[in-house]
Symmetry: C2
Subunit: 220 residues, 2 copies
DNA sequence: ACAAAAGTGTTAGTTGTACACCCATGG
DNA sequence: CCATGGGTGTACAACTAACACTTTTGT
């Protein structure tokens, strides 16, 4: 019984949420696109393995967040010896361009190529998890730049969550929760003019739940 | 490399949330209390294995809900050959008393005995997950009876979530979300008198998220 | 001057909590 | 007729979505 790790690595690129995939050269399912990953090593746990695989195979170093998703354990999920897959969600900040091997490419999640085995399901799971956590945690820190304008952050939320987001309300929510902090600095306006935008940063760069109990919260 | 399944099975018993544990007779860690589970079979996936183990070893048949928690993969989490543990949360409805082997017993989660290996961590994870899901899903269906009064349901929430819950508001929330439905019937009052309580049932008996987006919800 | 982009403010609606009050029943 | 406990209603606070208006800047 084998054990592999699969990571759905997301990054925002050109106003699209993208996922990192590599194209299989050999059978089975040659030509289809796979998630990065590989066999679990003898003396590492799953998160360590995921980090190592990404560093080794696709030169991804700047992983800002990594979390476990579910385990895929169908005895016949892949041909050959039985292999259990532990899947992960990985996030990379936006202005960063890791060096990729030639068979590896970023694909917009809205337009995926044919994926290998059950990897398409994994990607959908990961995307749902990301969208959900954007609304009650500070997880966006792992996709954003160190410093950013509100409109950049709005674009990030918009493409990651899949629908329009109001900049004003987004700022209100994130500031009240203490998720973002103004730096005091401003960014120069674009070439079309406009008010110089204030710069913000995420207060923390570790996952934190910011809206734990929507209802049935404990009494004060 | 071995792969085992561990299940934290919860039930409300006597106004206490309880978890099912069995006491190890042999080394290692003899005398400590363990979660039910065992090795993953060659031709079953993880949920099937969890269900089978419970049915075989502790005669638990009425599992109303089962979901995956995280995987414990520390190479040295247990002595002997390396064993990866996939953990699950299992729920059993309240008026039900499965036949248990002599070494197996229900333990209130507020007063756990000494647990084996990392099983204590698993129990805490499971409990947190349950408490969280009570507030945004209909997961309580798996702990409640077929029909119940609001005060019975309030007691269930109170002991599962760990703090007082207002009956009136609980009913309002759950009815608005369509989680519970009145049956029209009433229960006779207790021996001290009082208004006969209305009976309700859960609208669905499959997990459903009822409060997906607390904020940043999609436009109508 | 004008358009673009960001800041400011307001309104209205929803949701949840806390709490007071009313009513049916058994002793 | 009273205590008990469930039902009904209201007041209040918190939050959010939607959107109009104002201000600064580059062309």
């Amino acid at each position: 019984m084998q054990h592999e790790v699969l990571v759905a690595v997301f990054q925002k690129r050109d106003d699209e949420l993208c996922v990192l995939l590599w194209q299989r050269a050999l059978a089975p399912e040659s030509g289809t696109w796979s998630l990065p990953g590989g066999a679990l090593g003898a003396d590492e746990d799953l998160p360590a393995s995921a980090t190592r695989q990404l560093a080794e195979k696709v030169d991804v170093q700047e992983l800002a967040h990594l979390e476990q998703l579910s385990v895929f354990s169908d005895p016949h999920r892949v041909p050959g010896p039985r292999t259990i897959a532990s899947t992960f969600l990985g996030l990379i900040p936006s202005p960063s361009d890791p060096h990729l091997p030639p068979d590896t490419r970023w694909h917009p999640v809205s337009d995926l190529p044919q994926t290998s085995f059950d990897h398409g399901v994994v990607i959908r799971h990961a995307r749902r998890r990301l969208a959900a956590k954007l609304s009650y945690t500070n997880i966006a820190f792992a996709l954003a730049a160190d410093e950013f304008t509100m409109s950049a952050l709005r674009d990030l939320y918009t493409c990651a969550i899949g629908h329009a987001v109001d900049t004003t309300n987004l700022q209100r929510i994130l500031r009240r929760r203490g998720v973002i902090t103004p730096t005091g600095k401003t960014a120069p306006p674009g070439r079309a003019g406009g008010w110089p935008a204030a710069l913000f940063r995420f207060t923390e760069s570790r996952l934190r739940v910011t809206d734990e109990f929507a209802v049935l919260r404990p009494p004060v």
